[in-house]
Subunit: 327 residues, 2 copies
């Protein structure tokens, strides 16, 4: 798997040139709804943060349905599933199709692509054969192009090209990845903390350690954590390690530093992940670092980072209860 993370720059250049099939302008769009799960749904979370200063709010739904009330004439739906066969995304996309035709799809194959073709929806076919989590940039990067060709400009092409460039810094990613590995390798249940603006990266880091390294992780987001979670540590008997993600916003870094000091004082080890550049650069470079560190942690633990047998069990079980899902 490591090679796939290392190739993110190369894959991303390729992804910048993916063809957007059935692209056309959609008028009157005011918001974006992203449907997707896991390594595909996280693309929606990242889009939501990146788009927070654009004209378009992005709302992400990770379930077998999407509520009727979130889709109206001014909604553009983006369904993302790396395999194209994620049942949640297929069902919620079919549901959305009952309400609107303003739907686009990103997948490497599967039933979702069939839905795109038979409904003449805009879609992108991404490179197949990767673990979904290793396909993050090739789903995120072309999403901007797809949206742009449908009339929805989230960031400029120039910003996007500049962002992709950060993936060339493999040496730096490996260096920081090794630091995190050294920090986290004895941890039984690490915490990842970020501001709400960087929640998508905190969740991504968690998910990488879950899937690649097979360790449980807890994510907490500030400022909300200051209203409840912080109190949980006042008399905690379990203390482990925490990775903090810094921000490009000054007051958020003040809050990060305050909380890092607080947890350090009560006996929790702290690692501060310092990133640089735009929010999209931080998302993809931070994800690259987490990918490398989590695969190497799997190797140290003697675990295959690629295999996720519990997800296979889940998908098998889903087939048995498929009749319970009605459209």
């Amino acid at each position: 798997m490591l090679e796939d993370y290392i190739k993110w720059y190369e894959y991303s250049l390729e992804a910048l040139n993916y063809e957007v099939i059935n692209a056309r302008l959609f008028n009157g769009i005011k918001k974006i709804v992203v449907l997707g799960m896991g390594g595909s749904g996280i693309v929606g979370d990242m889009l939501a943060s990146i788009a927070s200063t654009s004209n378009y709010p992005v709302y992400v739904y990770k379930d077998f349905y999407v509520p009727r009330n979130v889709i109206d004439d001014s909604t553009f739906v983006l369904s993302i599933s790396y395999s194209g066969n994620t049942l949640e995304t297929i069902l919620s996309t079919k549901k959305a199709l009952q309400y609107t035709n303003a739907i686009a799809i990103i997948a490497s194959g599967g039933e979702l692509l069939e839905i795109a073709k038979s409904n003449n929806l805009p879609y992108i076919i991404v490179r197949g054969g990767l673990a979904p989590r290793a396909a993050l940039p090739i789903m995120l990067i072309p999403a901007f192009k797809l949206l742009s060709l449908c009339g929805i400009e989230l960031i400029s092409n120039q910003e996007l090209l500049k962002a992709v460039d950060i993936l060339r810094n493999i040496d730096e990613a490996e260096k920081i990845g090794a630091e995190i590995l050294g920090f986290i390798k004895s941890s039984k249940l690490p915490i990842v903390v970020s501001s709400l603006r960087y929640a998508a990266l905190a969740i991504r880091i968690k998910n990488e350690f879950n899937e690649n390294s097979k360790i449980p992780v807890k994510v907490e987001i500030l400022p909300e954590l200051f209203h409840n979670d912080i109190v949980g540590w006042e008399a905690a008997e379990f203390k482990d390690k925490a990775i903090f993600i810094d921000s490009d916003i000054e007051h958020e870094n003040e809050l990060i530093n305050f909380y890092a000091d607080y947890l350090r004082d009560i006996g929790i080890d702290i690692y501060l992940l310092k990133l640089k550049g735009s929010i999209i650069e931080r998302f993809i470079f931070g994800s690259l670092i987490a990918g490398i560190a989590s695969v190497k942690l799997a190797q140290i633990r003697g675990i295959d980072p690629l295999k996720t047998k519990s997800i296979t069990m889940y998908k098998k079980m889903l087939q048995n209860i498929k009749s319970l899902f009605t459209l």
Copy 2:
């Protein structure tokens, strides 16, 4: 504190009759944005789930700002802060006021009420003197009346009256609370699991054990957890206890049972919290149970459930960096 939870029924009857000051119809509203943190913000999370079958999507923001792009002419903003002095909510409300006048406020006092009065906004003054978390029903219940008088019908008054009735079952709440207490008392970092539909209750249970009992808790939501978190337990060295919340939807209970079996098999103790009735009944009765159990756990641990000294530290620190927040 226990007495306040026990009085929820009484407080709720009172809350049904709170006056909505400056109430007036707002036309053309298509969505609701809730601003609030902690024990007040959770009201927004509950409203969002309860409203999922209504005509109005509800989006909740828990930060010092609200993105410009989420507020337009068809947005109704509801700001909730029990004290009325939560800096995040004050700043995000002031931000929202730059974009719209369709804002209403729920508070027991503080600067938010002053903002409501000076801007002629609809508002409700709720009973003061409680811990914010013990004020859950007196913020949630009148929210429906406030919204209704502003022209936004989420649930019928009949449904609301019926829901409040469940808070009379103190004996049952204490019985289930005692079961959870017995289950969780030796736990160092319990997990709370629910479907996305009941995420607000899972988070509420977590927050109650954080604030009242001073123990850290991890929340995981399905089906998303089946795409990452489940794998983290495959080779976990830390195993503790998990509380599962059942659902009123059949396929969600199938998923709950599958995951409960999975975690039990790998050595995690499971408690299944079975609730009944409508989603709002489940939210408030589940919250009552968690309130009772978490206060009693504090007593067993020799801890004052009311005091949250780390939140006081946070609020003091905020005063020092106040100049960094610009409107």
